[in-house]
């Protein structure tokens, strides 16, 4: 089997034409990208130019401790979207799940694509185990950590797709048996942009790549290395059910009248108020719908350590550390306040008794008035 050469000279525009993408669709795609990146309209032409003139940059897609959910997210759009085509064109060089090469051929493809340091982009999916010298994930006899250090270490930039590669994700949930961590932690000092989410949204991946092509650098990020264009505002603030939240209209039980009427899922444990992501705007499966739109609360999947910090999924607040899950924060608080009240009630009784047994002597005093 012949492995596609990475040094083709045709531009992305040529490749898209070959794939049967019309000029009109291409422009639609570019305007969608401009909007996703929250760029002013006059950047549109710049985006178009950058994307069409790009010499297919090399992009390799590594998978470690993952469920291939991000790959699924990429591939399972209901109709083949243009971003899928763009990414497909970009990522031909190495992608374990979708490439036809296997074994040695696959290894060769990776070696070829990454031969020249600083010439390629890496997408990583899945966390990197570090316990027991990383034996819990090995590919071709090498540990994930080893591969990441080499491939990500020499890349132009690394894009982590999904919460696992960004922060360790589900494999890193307590008690984290494999010592899983994200790429930025595993290979310190490299250029990484995080696209967490379970899975990440393909639109954001494409937009990040387009930003890179247009400006030659990665978009601005927040404290957790996430691009602001996609993670800059809270789900709760863009949510279509927000009017019901502000009104005080809440779903009380699954399937109740309020649920059927599309009221706010706050009391069902929705973590929209704690989560930054553009799901309400970008949506999923070709902008068809998204979790809250489908009637389930947000689980906060794009936040670091979400499996530990956002649970219980169907309760608003986490469990009080050290107490059994049966205790809600309010119950704990009421017990504390009640115990104090009880304690001092007893103290009051004690004082009363003492004052009977041993009355306070009061001396009459004359107080000079001013």
């Amino acid at each position: 089997m012949k492995i596609t050469s990475t040094k083709e000279s045709s531009t992305l525009a040529d490749l898209l034409t070959k794939k049967g993408v019309s000029r009109r669709d291409f422009l639609k795609f570019c305007s969608a990208m401009t909007a996703t990146l929250a760029l002013p309209v006059n950047y549109f032409e710049r985006v178009v130019k950058a994307v069409e003139q790009t010499k297919k940059p090399v992009l390799v897609w590594l998978e470690f401790q993952d469920c291939a959910g991000n790959t699924e997210s990429l591939l399972r759009a209901s109709t083949p979207s243009i971003s899928e085509v763009v990414l497909d064109v970009l990522s031909v060089d190495y992608h374990e799940t979708i490439m036809s090469a296997a074994g040695r051929q696959a290894e060769e493809a990776l070696a070829m694509a990454t031969a020249e340091p600083g010439s390629y982009l890496v997408v990583v999916e899945g966390s990197i185990p570090t316990k027991d010298r990383g034996v819990y994930c090995t590919i071709g006899g090498r540990t994930a950590l080893d591969i990441a250090q080499e491939i990500c270490g020499n890349a132009m930039a690394t894009i982590t797709c999904g919460t696992c590669s960004a922060y360790g994700g589900i494999p890193a949930a307590a008690p984290n048996p494999t010592g899983a961590i994200g790429v930025a932690e595993a290979v310190p000092g490299i250029t990484v942009i995080n696209l967490p989410g379970c899975p990440m949204n393909v639109t954001n991946l494409t937009a990040t790549v387009v930003h890179f092509l247009t400006f030659g650098q990665l978009p601005l990020t927040d404290n957790f290395g996430r691009p602001l264009f996609a993670y800059g505002s809270r789900i709760h603030d863009d949510c279509e059910r927000r009017a019901h939240f502000d009104a005080g209209q809440f779903v009380e039980a699954w399937g109740d009248e309020a649920h059927r009427a599309g009221w706010c899922l706050y009391k069902m444990g929705c973590k929209g108020p704690a989560t930054s992501h553009n799901c309400p705007v970008t949506r999923w499966n070709d902008q068809t719908n998204w979790p809250i739109g489908a009637g389930h609360g947000c689980v906060g999947c794009s936040e670091p350590n979400f499996w530990d910090t956002m649970t219980p999924i169907y309760r608003r607040l986490p469990n009080v550390p050290g107490l059994s899950v049966e205790w809600t924060a309010d119950q704990v608080g009421m017990v504390v306040a009640g115990a104090v009240a009880g304690g001092f009630a007893l103290h009051g009784l004690g004082s009363f008794i003492r004052n009977r047994v041993e009355p306070i002597e009061r001396t009459e005093v004359e107080v000079g008035e001013e």
């Binding site: 009104a247 809440f250 910090t309 309010d330 608080g333 504390v336 107080v367």
Partner: protein, 252 residues
């Protein structure tokens, strides 16, 4: 401390002394009002027990209103804390000073702390005489002030999230690097209960000390004046030596 000597003289004459200046009393009652409002609205935000139907009289912006009241009151609360902090460091008298909140820094303070604890455990008939906060109360207020600032920090951190890049977001978003978002909420929620627990203890103790010591403690937070009962001011000199009440020498 010459100030204290002069004061003790005036106390002996009139039996009363002006302790709580206006800013102290004003911020105390502002805080009380704010905490009551913040607790009611905060509890509703945390657990919206009233679900509103569009036909009801409180309209279709009930949670919005609760949150608005919570945030607006929060600003007043912060204003009050700023005034009180200024008064503790710069403006206020010796009893309003921040030193009252850390009695354990001086040997005398530690002695009084211990004796007040003994008093609460019925092991001592009277608490040590004090003009300002008694040592244990001061220590408790120190803890309460920490809780106040915890509420302000966590509250504004939660508030700032609705406006990324805004003032509060810039000032507080570093918090989420150390504490997860949900944990910040839990802390904000639990501290409310700690403050409620404190309020229970606080009002009881104010009443207890007021009735047992007859020093006008309760009214002092309205008027600013406290009374020194000669009995206790006499024993004061002895107390300084022995930290004990003369009428109860045989205590355990």
């Amino acid at each position: 401390m010459s100030v204290q000597v002069a004061e003790e003289k005036s106390i002996e004459k009139t039996g009363r002394v002006y302790i709580w200046e206006i800013p102290v009393r004003l911020t105390h009652w502002t805080n009380v009002a704010c905490i009551i409002i913040l607790s009611f609205t905060g509890y509703y935000i945390g657990n919206p027990y009233i679900s509103v139907s569009p036909r009801e009289f409180y309209g279709t912006y009930f949670m919005g209103l609760m949150r608005f009241i919570h945030m607006a009151t929060a600003y007043i609360f912060v204003g009050s804390l700023v005034v009180r902090t200024y008064w503790a460091f710069i403006g206020g008298n010796q009893w309003a000073s921040w030193r009252a909140l850390v009695p354990f820094f001086t040997p005398e303070g530690r002695g009084k702390l211990l004796n007040t604890i003994l008093y609460y455990f019925f092991l001592r008939r009277h608490p040590p005489t004090t003009l300002g906060h008694n040592a244990l109360a001061g220590f408790t207020y120190g803890f309460i002030v920490l809780l106040y600032f915890t509420q302000v920090l966590t509250g504004f951190a939660l508030y700032g999230q609705s406006d990324p890049g805004g003032l509060w977001w810039n000032l507080t978003s570093w918090l989420f690097i150390f504490v997860s978002n949900q944990m910040v909420r839990l802390i904000h929620h639990l501290v409310m209960w700690l403050l409620i627990a404190f309020a229970v203890h606080h009002v009881y103790s104010a009443w207890l000390v007021d009735t047992e010591e007859a020093n006008g403690l309760m009214s002092s937070i309205f008027s600013g004046w406290k009374f020194i009962v000669p009995e206790s001011s006499e024993s004061k000199a002895k107390q300084k030596v022995s930290h004990q009440q003369p009428d109860k020498p045989g205590e355990k």
